[in-house]
């Protein structure tokens, strides 16, 4: 596939998010289903996920920079970024509103934290998918 450095960067971010945060959410789901209801046990798992995301991002960008020209983002990249952002940011907004409502309804902190994480994950993945769609199908 003929991709600019920016498009490759989006693929790398998407992959790192799915592997890192997606993996965390699977593990966290298993922990929650096993009755873990306090936040501290989730912290080391989340730390591993963050390290994984950063490591995959760095390694991916190094490989992308070595294998092709690392052109600066141009107007098309910026427009695609803006459109994807405006098409995905509502997901995080819904998550934040949901978290506030959960707090009002006295839902446990562990559930509120994960609602926020899921909405952040959903928002970022949607943004990346939209960007890739705009790169492939045109804007």
């Amino acid at each position: 596939m003929d991709m600019s450095f920016e498009e490759k960067s989006v693929w790398i971010q998407l992959f790192s998010l799915v592997v890192g945060l997606g993996g965390y959410l699977v593990v966290a789901g298993l922990m929650l289903s096993n009755g873990v209801s306090a936040l501290p046990p989730f912290v080391p798992v989340f730390a591993v996920a963050v390290v994984l995301i950063v490591a995959v991002n760095i390694a991916g960008h190094v490989v992308a920079a070595i294998t092709n020209r690392s052109d600066e983002a141009d107007e098309r990249d910026r427009l695609i970024g803006c459109r994807a952002e405006s098409g995905s940011s509502w997901i995080l907004g819904v998550g934040v509103i949901g978290a506030i409502l959960s707090l009002i309804l006295s839902v446990g902190g562990v559930w509120v934290a994960h609602l926020l994480l899921i909405s952040l994950f959903g928002s970022e993945v949607t943004k990346d998918v939209l960007q890739i769609a705009y790169y492939r199908r045109g804007i």
């Binding site: 003929d2 600019s4 052109d71 141009d74 098309r76 990249d77 790169y135 045109g138 804007i139």
Partner: protein
Amino acid sequence: MTQSGISIRNQIRTLRFHHGEMTQQKLADQVGVTRQTVNAIEGGKYSPSLEVAFRIAHVFGKPLEEVFQYVAASRVTATNS
């Protein structure tokens, strides 16, 4: 780009041919965008900003309307019927 019945066509491929088969990369370097953006413009997948459109026309030494043509959908329909 075809969007809501509006189509902007371009002659970039032909103009590159008439300029010694200029590569997309060379045009992109002179215009200040990526090669993939030139490819997207050429293929009708992206309508450039006015500034980039003028820069492309300037590289070929042509007026803007010889590089890009605006064709409204109603005109296309009328022409075809």
